[in-house]
Symmetry: C2
């Protein structure tokens, strides 16, 4: 131990390096290269700029920090530990071990101070774009002259991998178009990816690329010069109308005599010998996981953080005094609570659907429901990946979001900011931006595209489910019912495939009422994403005796009595979405043959699967054979003990929808014949 301790920026950075290499070594698993390479950048940001209070990681006006290169998780764990978050050294010693607070990649909800779960590359920076968007919109909506209660920045660290991913193009182009001046991304330009020196496969002129998106680009700066990075951040903070990329030239694994600047530094422990050499090289004689008191004190941000929050709270109390109603709404929205009258709004939306009993496409039914919800919930932030008129995600209450040349949010004549986002043809970017918006808080984002293109955004939907975020995906044109656009656009496997994502609720409603209920449930589920699969084509309203049961995901829609048979059912027709009408028609035909069947509508099997077994057995009694009908792959239906499944296990064709349904066997005759075969009568 040295007698006098050096608390220079270089030594603060070395504390990160030591923790990173020691934790990875202890786990014998992990990625030391990025934390060691970005340690100096981290000192510049976290010691000199980041506005945060380690004692209150949920402070609403904190700056957001995203580690988009999530494999470098030890960087953020070291920072959180050192600056004073509730992340004791024991947790760092348990890096990557079961139920520690230091999992392999940062996970929101697991570790205090982690703002988003990262690892799948490119999505972190896209989440950051969403956070910065939310901040900008909230500021426009809630700040008042002399009262900047929403005034924070979003910082993201990212590496070569994030920049190679296509989603970085989508999200960063949007950030430029949206003039997100309070988004500052710091690029760890180390020229190395897992396969080695990137030159043969990554020749992008990244600064030129980002300038082409309308970004402010600073650098390259020396990413190991804390003052240079500090100055770059200071400059970035002055941008009024552009997001900023700071290009930081770094050495991956900086400090390691033999591993720095090599791909080997990326994803494996340095080994005891190299760690010893590194300790000597960087002048860090301390034992593993030992942070000398002076260094610890120099890193501690609790006092400064508390002061910053206190200052904000003083200002916020003046806002509460001057704008009490706004403050109530702001706090409600940041807490993610729905308005007190949400139940009434929902009931009205559902009741209107029942009352009008309209025959419309379920995408139109969605828009009708959204008219109710968007009028009452200012936190709903809609959007579409360039299919607004097809997805019908816009409503009278959601003007298109636009930004002025000066970077400001355009306010319309009625004093409203835009609440419908034209995401452009960027499905994955949209989904990841929505995740960022939800993580930031203040909004419930929803966005639309065709169901087939859920493929493009699939991993961001998964991330929403993993993070338990309330985002709503509006997937229209949900089957061969799309018609002439053909097999490239016709969903066949997508409903089944989305139902496999743990934690995602999937709805495929059959009519206006089911659609209104689906929206209600999606909005009420604070910790769960939902996907609404909606038809292009018109669907008739199906009369219901008990509308409340729709919320259970599946319910008895029509017993034999509905078609004039005074018998108990001998089979169940189980259908979703556009095929429910087919089940009802088949039920009527079967009634003519004196075969009594029950029709069960199952708008959401994921919701139904969570009901108590008693209810499940009431709807699907063990003794009744079930025949499922859905215009998609059959695989997922067998778990309901079906005797037969009428589905589609091949691709569709290009033809009018009616022709296709007939061609692929979605006809009353085929359903009737299938039931008779199953029953042997």
């Amino acid at each position: 131990m040295a007698d006098t301790l050096d608390t220079s920026p270089a030594q603060l950075a070395n504390a990160i390096r030591a923790l990173a290499m020691d934790a990875v070594q202890q786990a014998n698993s992990g990625h030391p290269g990025a934390p060691m390479g970005m340690a100096d950048i981290a000192v510049a940001l976290w010691k000199r700029h980041l506005k945060h209070n380690p004692s209150d990681p949920q402070w609403v006006d904190r700056d957001r920090f995203v580690l988009s290169n999530g494999h470098g998780s030890m960087l953020i764990y070291a920072l959180l530990h050192l600056t004073g978050y509730d992340l004791p050294i024991e947790e760092l010693k348990a890096f990557r071990q079961m139920h520690s607070k230091t999992p392999g990649h940062p996970e929101v909800g697991v570790t205090p101070g982690v703002e988003t779960t990262t690892g799948p590359l490119g999505q972190g920076i896209s989440n950051a774009v969403g956070m910065a968007l939310a901040e900008k919109l909230l500021a426009a909506e809630f700040n008042r002259e002399g009262h900047s209660v929403v005034d924070h920045r979003t910082y993201a660290f990212l590496g070569d991998g994030c920049l190679m991913e296509g989603i970085s193009h989508e999200a960063c182009a949007l950030a430029g178009a949206w003039k997100l001046n309070k988004l500052i991304a710091l690029y760890d330009d180390n020229g190395i990816s897992i396969d080695g020196q990137v030159a043969p496969w990554f020749i992008d002129d990244t600064p030129a690329r980002f300038k082409a998106y309308g970004w402010n680009v600073i650098g390259p700066v020396d990413g190991h010069d804390v003052d240079a990075v500090d100055a770059a951040i200071a400059q970035a903070k002055t941008s009024a109308d552009k997001p900023t990329l700071i290009v930081c030239k770094t050495s991956i694994g900086k400090g390691s005599p033999n591993r720095a600047n090599t791909a080997k530094a990326h994803g494996e422990a340095l080994g005891a010998e190299e760690i010893a050499l590194t300790r000597a090289a960087i002048g860090w004689p301390h034992a593993p996981f030992e942070i000398p008191a002076d260094i610890a004190a120099a890193w501690d941000c609790r006092t400064a953080g508390a002061a910053a929050q206190s200052d904000w709270e003083d200002r916020y109390s003046l806002y509460v005094r001057d704008f009490p109603a706004l403050a109530v709404d702001f706090e409600r929205r940041m807490a993610g609570d729905l308005p007190d009258n949400f139940a009434e709004i929902a009931v009205a939306a559902v009741a209107a659907a029942h009352e009008k009993a309209e025959t419309v496409a379920s995408r139109k039914a969605s828009q009708i429901a959204l008219e109710h919800f968007t009028a009452a919930l200012p936190e709903l932030l809609g959007g579409s990946a360039d299919l607004t008129g097809s997805n019908l995600t816009n409503t009278k209450s959601t003007p298109a979001l636009r930004f002025g040349a000066d970077g400001s949010v355009v306010v319309n004549e009625a004093g409203q900011i835009g609440r419908h986002v034209n995401y452009g043809v960027r499905e994955f970017g949209m989904a990841a931006v929505m995740n960022g918006v939800a993580l930031h808080g203040g909004f419930i984002p929803y966005g639309g595209t065709f169901l087939t293109f859920s493929d493009y955004s699939r991993n961001a939907i998964r991330m929403a489910a993993l993070m338990k975020l309330r985002v709503v995906h509006v997937f229209t044109h949900d089957s061969i019912g799309l018609g002439e656009d053909g097999p490239t656009h016709q969903s066949v496997e997508h409903a089944a495939s989305l139902r496999l994502i743990p934690g995602l609720d999937v709805w495929r409603p059959a009519d206006t009422a089911e659609t209104a209920v689906a929206w209600t449930m999606a909005l009420a589920n604070k910790h769960r994403p939902s996907a609404l699969l909606l038809s292009r084509q018109n669907l008739p309203y199906a009369p219901k005796t008990d509308a409340d049961v729709i919320t259970k995901g599946a319910y008895i829609l029509a017993e034999p009595a509905e078609v004039g048979l005074k018998k108990k059912p001998v089979a169940v027709l189980l259908a979703t979405g556009s095929e429910v009408q087919l089940a009802l028609m088949a039920q009527a035909e079967l009634a003519k043959l004196k075969i009594p069947v029950r029709v069960v509508s199952m708008p959401s099997n994921t919701v139904f699967d969570r009901q108590d077994p008693k209810y499940q057995k009431e709807v699907l009694p063990a003794k009744l054979p079930r025949i499922a009908i859905e215009a998609g792959v059959t695989s997922g239906w067998w778990k309901y003990g079906c005797a037969a499944v009428i589905g589609l296990d091949t691709y569709g064709e290009s033809a009018p929808a009616g022709v296709l349904f007939k061609h692929f066997g979605f006809t009353t005759d085929n359903v009737v014949a299938t039931v008779r075969t199953v029953l042997g009568r």
Copy 2:
């Protein structure tokens, strides 16, 4: 009818406009805007530059043409019809109708002259990058001094939508890094997407962006000036080391007095009235679908095409004379035929696996099999999305592909060109580029990433299946067995989800022998893509009595006799991949309890599902209860009539693999207990 016909470029373009608007009108469905807007560009390319022979759409040295904005399908149908392909006017009249050759989006295999199926935006240009890569590599491999038998270009049309999609970033960055100078993309810069004037959501400086990728950028040129576009193409053809983007300023729906330059022109029929106005405006008095003889003659490319092909055939005959062995191999590879000794190679690979009976990870088993196949099949073109050392897709026979500063393919000291592609962190781009390589012919592409990131590439995998392309996806780290990287990287739903894609074979092999068979089948399936799901962790070799049955997708691996029980089985343990060893251990434990069970290994349920029902019943007799075991979601297993499924319907955790398997119930004890519960003993 006019007496003297004008066969100017403008009128040739108007023939396209008329066919496009008339066909869309007849179908009352489709996209007239792009064909009408790009008609003049099409004249410049198809009349003055494109090397093709309408009478032989399969001529190997033809230029490839890709309509990346596939919704503009009437553009290519009009061009194919007008230039003389086997696409009679009756087919254009049946646009978007069942089983016509003119589906809603262009489909390869349906329409002669269509090179790839497009519609999902961004993938066409990415396919084109793959085609241009294949051409460049084949030229480097087969051309000899004075013998340029491989010498063609790849042209792509693309619009704003393609450029907004993230995949365009991935694929175009690769095209720049690979110096694909014979790739020429023509950008329909009309400033309109479905949601309207793109300015609020698409502000990219696209020329600057493409320059940043290392492209040659020409323009903007007037996209309605045939001579200007012609000159730009001529200039692009001189590029020695860069792909070229030609930016063409156009008006969507050009020619329509009221719809041009509006989003309304994009995706709906003009209507009879506007069509009449358009006819008048462009000077096209002819009836719908009527092409005057002089215009038809001016468009006909059959004579010129036949001459071009004949010239090439003359040159090729000299090549055959001078390099007969090379010519035989070239023809075999372009035909997509495997070497005559493929069966022997495959038998040797599988036999070696049995003989060595190694305990290795199945990703390593894949590399071992690949050593056999890559040594014998020069057409294998491997790669990885920046995880080469993890995916183990490289072999001794596949040096890394590199390009010289002059744009040439680097040839190593042994005279070999590279055959392993560092795709960078670009999963979706990789998958779509592989599709393009397969479409071009001459190579069988395979590429690796982690299984979870199949989410990123999912729609390109689907497109491979829809197009019936032989591409092989190597997806490693296939479950919680990945360990410490945690839930962001642990596949849970991916195996089940990939199995839902119609036409895709999914393999999850349990050991070296099954892995070698999986590779054999993947390579032998000329018209089907395959996904190989491979473990990070070691898996023991499972001794087999009959190895041939692996090819059937599922087989009886061990009867009770193998564990010393002379009884018939009373249950079946059905497992895949890493869980097969668990089934075998449970079988042994159950034998101690005198409970005889059969172990069925099911490396590929998609293959098993195609076996005749007799074999299926032999393996899974109706009277035996089945218990499935797979470290993933359970949904897909019920179709095999399982009494229980041991799986994982939640996300994983970050911890060592062994800890995780135990935590989630993948233990002998749990399997034994489950079997006993099912059997009630």
